[in-house]
């Protein structure tokens, strides 16, 4: 199985969505996430959501899903791009229970809300904290970024 096969199958099933196909990952639009995920789980055999994380790209946020299919031995990297003024995305925890805690972690560290999540609370930081540490604009008085070229040449 290849990325291109999967992209083809998804495009056949959902002709209306705009699928961005890159060599290593696929980008789906936010609105189509749940449908594509259902399709991947039920018909293409992706039994596990192996990893779920987010990357702060300063002008947008990416939510990255790593889905694995045991029957096809293939790890699919799926991305959803969300803009900074609407940090919400559908939750896939109804399909894969592993996404439950992983989405809570993304909420805790980035502030992205997952709609229809059974229990969206912070998981690692204190419950009544207000900040989201892994964002690139996270500022604290006592957090000093190290100068990058400390002692390095080249």
């Amino acid at each position: 199985m290849q990325n291109s096969d999967l992209a083809l199958q998804i495009k056949n099933k959902f002709p209306s969505i705009v699928l961005d196909e890159q060599p290593n990952f696929l980008v789906v639009p936010k609105t189509a996430l749940l449908d594509v995920a259902c399709f991947l789980k039920s018909e293409l055999g992706f039994e596990t959501c192996h990893c779920l994380t987010a990357v702060d790209r300063k002008d947008k946020m990416e939510v990255v899903y790593h889905l694995y299919s045991f029957s096809n031995h293939f790890m699919l990297t799926l991305k959803v791009i969300i803009s900074l003024d609407d940090l919400t995305v559908e939750s896939v925890s109804s399909l894969w229970r592993s996404a439950d805690w992983l989405e809570r972690e993304v909420f805790d560290l980035f502030g992205i809300r997952f709609l229809n999540h059974p229990d969206l609370r912070r998981i690692m930081n204190p419950d009544n904290w207000t900040d989201h540490p892994l964002r690139k604009d996270f500022k604290r008085e006592d957090f000093i970024p190290r100068p990058v070229t400390l002692g390095l040449k080249g």
């Binding site: 290593n24 192996h50 994380t53 031995h73 592993s98 992983l102 892994l134 996270f138 990058v148």
Partner: protein, 363 residues
Amino acid sequence: MGELLTVNMGPQHPSTHGVLYLELTIDGEIVVNCKPHLGYLHRSMEKIAENRTYIQFIPFTDRLDYLASMNNNLGFCLTVEKLLNIPVTPRAQYLRVIIAELNRVASHLVAIGTFAQDLGAYATALFYTFSDREKIVELFDNICGSRLTYNYMRIGGVSGDIPAGTEQIIKDFIAYERKQLKEYNELLTYNVIFLARSKKIGILSKEKALNYGVSGPILRASGVKWDIRKEEPYLVYDKFDFDVPTGGVGDSWDRYKIKLDEIEQSLRIIEQAIGAIPEGNPVSKVNRVFRGTGETYMRTENPRGELGFYLVAEGGFNPYRCKIRSPSFSNLSVLSELIKGLNISDAVCVLGSLDIVMGEIDR
């Protein structure tokens, strides 16, 4: 007692294997609800990774799953090598395999000893397994100077060659450990009380295991024959001949027995590798400074499951984003499902059999 009682287990408790806080709601002796609270060991490693160079981050990976530091180092180094296309010398590959498998044996020994202790075989099994582990830890001390957090792997190889005489020590250890495995089987595995306490407790079905993203010995105990070392071999694992043991039912006894079987398989791998180490220089001769772009995801088989690193690089000296997919995190999420309806004693047994390390759950 008809009313429900809320009991706090942890964060400091003799059998929660670290700082885990479980809020149990019990009705008499039966657990009705379980709410785990994490974060007592959160050290924001992923944020730190964005502020360190690739080499500077390797000691931090030691402290994730501190019982299997070498395997964590290995996972991170392999991810960086995959991202930046850095070759590894053959001697370094064999050394990495041997060291990683020895660390797997050490980690499983701790798991076995502490599981027996949770069940009440107070300290005897623990002393035996820890004195076996002492041999491994002393060996690592000779190789890299440290007993728990090794920082031995480097990007492109290892930090130093093994001293003379190490191969003989490892061969002696393999013979000794095989005898000890027989003793553990006699002492614990087929003991009537041990069986009564752990058979049919906390059964995890195959479908639930896959859905919850469980991996490693727990997944194999539930009947799924899955090992990254066989399916997506990294380093030189495809050159070795070893089995992947699976359990029958997925109860706590299976999860315990699998660890003994895996120790035997690791000893087989080490035996084959020791006989075939090529000559050469295991220390990498690459740039001290790595820069690259792109992203990659690489997973390795840790003693606790599949450790994955998702690395995004944007051309700087530091990673742009380093996500650590820790196996114990997903393994722990099954706990609240498994212990509903069990006694408190059984809850302790299930938690012990899941073999979690808080260092990698909280990062």
